[in-house]
Symmetry: C2
Subunit: 172 residues, 2 copies
């Protein structure tokens, strides 16, 4: 399941003129990675301007993972998780089996180093291995770097569907 190690030059966190030769790899995530996954989700929520919206706990992640509701893929360097994909199998009534990518995150310090591309590439391989006919996910309409990333890879980006959400703790 592991991809080859990828070698990249990463700017030092301490001095902007220093670069360090580092490597990362992509692997299937496990139960032990869930706390790192949640930390990255919280980081992305800040980027998406909704830091208060993450109310799921580590226990929620652990229970759902053990129920087999989702799988994860992680990017890792020196035993540190720097990127995440969280996904699950669904079904398109029009097309058939569809792998849904719920979240796709690269930690800020590691963006622009090929980590997202490597995760994306592995995710598409997994879609084929699982015999899904398509992959689906969502992107915020103001997130131009992400939209560019997808459109360069032949992804269809559509604006004609609205999301509907009903929280179980609301009235009505």
């Amino acid at each position: 399941m592991n991809t080859k190690q990828k070698i990249v030059w990463v700017k030092s966190q301490f001095c902007p003129f220093l670069f360090k030769k580092m490597s990362f790899s992509i692997r299937k995530g496990e139960y032990k990675d869930l706390s790192s996954a949640l930390a990255l989700v919280r980081e992305l929520a800040v980027y998406e301007r909704e830091p208060e919206a993450v109310t799921a706990s580590l226990q929620d992640y652990q229970e759902a993972y053990q129920e087999g509701i989702f799988e994860i893929l992680v990017a890792e360097t020196e035993n540190q998780v720097i990127g995440l994909m969280l996904f699950y199998m669904t079904f398109s009534t029009w097309r058939g089996k569809m792998l849904y990518l719920e979240d796709f995150i690269v930690t800020e310090h590691w963006r622009g180093k090929g980590v997202g591309s490597a995760l994306y590439h592995r995710f598409m391989e997994i879609c084929k291995e699982k015999r899904a006919v398509l992959a689906k996910w969502q992107v915020l309409n103001w997130n131009d770097p992400a939209i560019d990333f997808y459109e360069k890879r032949g992804v269809i980006v559509e604006n004609d569907w609205l999301n509907c959400k009903k929280f179980m703790n609301s009235s009505l």
Copy 2:
């Protein structure tokens, strides 16, 4: 799992001045209902102006159902399926367990008779039974009757997310 029989007056298909007292009920769908489910999906695709887009076969439905990828709920009258909900458990990285409603259909002749409300009500009960913290689905931005139906029931309808789709048989 069955709800009570609901009694409604339904216009005759042969004479617009004749009404017939009929009843329908909501029940968990089974393997044997999948061909009726697919027939309703094809009917909805015509309403959504994309009749060619349904490429999934009955076999695709049967295989995915047997793999446990989705569940269905059906509305039924006189052994005929007149309404469908197809859904599956997913995970919101922000909120936790989330029941996703992939498709929600009432056959044209039976619209406006409370079938949609009865399905919707049963779906919300199932969300609670499965301990999902929220339900999510999508609606086309021009489908005003559906948007009204949801907004009257306290559903949050959002327009800031774009759908991304990648078909596995495409290049890149």
